[in-house]
């Protein structure tokens, strides 16, 4: 972890707006200290349930957008699926929330103008629009590929059509765009757009498929993983997955600190949720004669 002046802050943030976006909710917080530090791909955590809450885990959300109004606002998108997100969905303007951010490794952007493909599934596409703005500012082209189970669970289709050079939409039930998984259209878009870099934010099985497909075209992928987190700052050790370092050693790393954006070819997608036998410190793992002391 690198300590910089732009590190995360913990603030009492005020709810500016909470709006429905089809099946999802978009919550905008007034949080200038987070907004000014934010880079696309980073996330925030919030405490849910009020001061005497029985819900101890923080809820982590990748930031959709930051704006300069009111000194700086931060918006994230979520689906009200459990007690914590239902509590959030019941907030009103001027309520306050304990918020921490911005957290995690942002999307790295190319040094030179590149043809970028941005792929998102469900509300996972939320972080891609701030990224698209940043890429466009750097003279990159942006092609969107968005998917979801149904039309009301494809986030940002309109924004994608507006801000992208192209926008390809797929839904599992065919209610918007082509019918089928998001990966079904990917190969065609890669070829037509002559894609050089892929940014993907989707469930792990989709990221695995995107990584495999991109490898056939030798296209680098930056993948934002959506794994459950309890603290978001690296102390609970809950959000781990196996990632191979550039030194070739696999480590069990924390998505909140080393991610949520990873170089996709280094993530061992098939082993997510397991401890690979060759991971550093796995049962039966033996330290090499040298070089392990500084690892981990």
């Amino acid at each position: 972890m690198i300590e910089t002046a732009a590190g995360p802050v913990q603030v009492r943030a005020t709810v500016l707006t909470l709006r429905r976006v089809d099946a999802y909710h978009a919550l905008t917080l007034v949080a200038p200290a987070i907004a000014t530090r934010f880079r696309p791909g980073q996330f925030v955590t919030v405490a849910v349930g009020g001061p005497e809450t029985s819900m101890l885990g923080r809820r982590a959300f990748v930031v959709h957008d930051v704006r300069p109004d009111h000194g700086g606002t931060v918006e994230f998108v979520f689906e009200a699926l459990g007690p914590g997100t239902r509590w959030l969905a019941a907030l009103r303007a001027r309520d306050t929330l304990d918020a921490v951010g911005p957290l995690g490794r942002p999307f790295p952007v190319p040094k030179n103008p590149s043809r970028c493909l941005l792929l998102g599934v469900g509300y996972g596409s939320a972080p891609l629009f701030a990224l698209a703005t940043k890429l466009t500012d750097r003279a990159c082209s942006v092609d969107f590929v968005l998917g979801g189970p149904s039309a009301d669970r494809v986030f940002g289709a309109l924004s994608a059509r507006r801000s992208g050079r192209s926008a390809t939409i797929t839904t599992a039930d065919g209610s918007l765009g082509a019918r089928g998984p998001v990966t079904a259209m990917l190969e065609q878009v890669i070829r037509e757009a002559r894609t050089e870099v892929i940014y993907a934010s989707a469930p792990v099985p989709v990221l695995r498929d995107v990584t495999a497909l991109a490898a056939r075209y030798a296209i680098p992928v930056q993948a934002s993983v959506d794994v459950p987190m309890a603290c978001g700052i690296g102390v609970c050790m809950g959000c781990v997955l196996p990632v191979t370092g550039t030194d070739g050693i696999t480590r069990i790393v924390r998505a909140c600190v080393d991610g949520p954006v990873f170089r996709a070819d280094l993530v061992r997608w098939d082993d997510v949720g397991t401890i690979p036998f060759d991971a550093l410190g796995a049962p039966g793992w033996k330290p090499k004669a040298e070089g392990h002391l500084h690892a981990g």
Binding site: P8, A47, L56, V235
Partner: protein, 334 residues
């Protein structure tokens, strides 16, 4: 007038009695983004083992009412990386460091203690006894008074004599006072209680256990009454033995409750997951609580919930306590 918050354990003086509990403060750097680690009484490291360790598969955490269930499995860097990287970082940021150690055999605990004897700047050692004993079919050291005592003896024998040793006890025993007794007899200078309570959650949607390891350790406010009971029982049996009371402390008032039960110091653990600045907030809130009840110093309220006779007035101060230091419970404002 603000209360004197200092906590003293023989050679060790802490500016306040609030400690970041083992396994809840990462390597220290994570918390330093939000709090000044030098202002916490001490940082207890995550449990350090001989070798690096991956820990258990995910999912490792499940949220339960006012609790977190975890089966992280002691993921950690190993003692070499800890001594080279994490300990110097903490010391250079002004933190006082209690090193938690965990082993798979009695011998491993002893070897870790020997390594720590050579490390400069360590304030104390905490022995995590809630580890599977590889020589006893994976039964936790903490569950058997004799085994727990032999770990403490091995650590005490290998460790520099001026470093205080705390044995961290599991509440999952029928008689925690018996385990505390063998640990004290084996040379523990203090006791830490409680560690997690074994628990389990099943997800009705998947019909599978919520944790990959099926069951895990429950922590958080849900276990606080268990911690209060354990601290109370052990403090009653060993009023002179310093106790770090840990278990579900979220506020200064919660800390006060454990002090009243007989803890000399307080560990803040799972609350950090919910609030990264929990440790410094609890220090501030405890200060306010003490001021509100008119206590001059922390020692005034330690064990005060116990009936008269427990380390109370009329007890010669020089005879109790840690290495000749006066024991708490000399009530100044009764």
């Amino acid at each position: 007038m603000p209360a004197d918050m200092r906590a003293r354990l023989g050679p060790l003086e802490l500016p306040n009695p609030v400690l970041a509990a083992a396994g809840c403060a990462g390597a220290g750097r994570e918390l330093a983004q939000f709090i000044d680690v030098a202002r916490v009484g001490a940082i207890i490291s995550k449990s350090i083992m001989t070798e690096p360790r991956t820990g258990n598969p995910a999912p490792r955490l499940a949220e339960t009412p006012s609790g977190l269930l975890n089966s992280v499995g002691l993921q950690g860097p190993g003692i070499d990386a800890f001594l080279q990287r994490d300990l110097p970082w903490l010391l250079s940021h002004g933190a006082r460091v209690v090193v938690s150690i965990a082993g798979q055999t009695v011998r491993e605990y002893g070897a870790l203690a020997a390594r720590l004897s050579d490390a400069a700047g360590v304030s104390a050692v905490e022995i995590n006894l809630s580890c599977p004993n590889a020589e006893d079919a994976g039964r936790l050291f903490a569950l058997d008074p004799t085994t727990a005592g032999s770990v403490v003896a091995a650590v005490r024998a290998s460790l520099r004599h001026d470093l205080p040793v705390f044995a961290k006890l599991s509440p999952d025993v029928t008689d925690i006072v018996a385990v505390a007794g063998t640990c004290v007899a084996a040379g523990a200078d203090g006791l830490s209680l409680i560690n997690v309570v074994l628990g389990m959650a099943i997800d009705p949607a998947t019909m599978r256990p919520a944790l990959a390891g099926a069951y895990g350790g429950l922590s958080g406010p849900a276990v606080r009454p268990v911690a209060v009971r354990c601290v109370w029982q052990v403090a009653e049996a060993f009023p002179d033995v310093p106790i770090i009371g840990t278990g579900g402390v979220r506020t200064g008032r919660d800390a006060l409750e454990l002090l009243l039960a007989g803890a000399w110091m307080i560990g803040v653990g799972t609350a950090i997951m919910h609030d990264p600045s929990a440790c410094s907030r609890v220090v501030r809130e405890l200060e306010e609580e003490l001021a509100a009840i008119g206590a001059d110093q922390v020692a005034d309220i330690i064990g005060r919930a116990h009936p008269r006779g427990y380390g109370g007035p009329g007890r010669p101060p020089a005879l109790g306590g840690f290495r000749g230091v006066a024991s708490p419970g000399q009530y100044s404002n009764t």
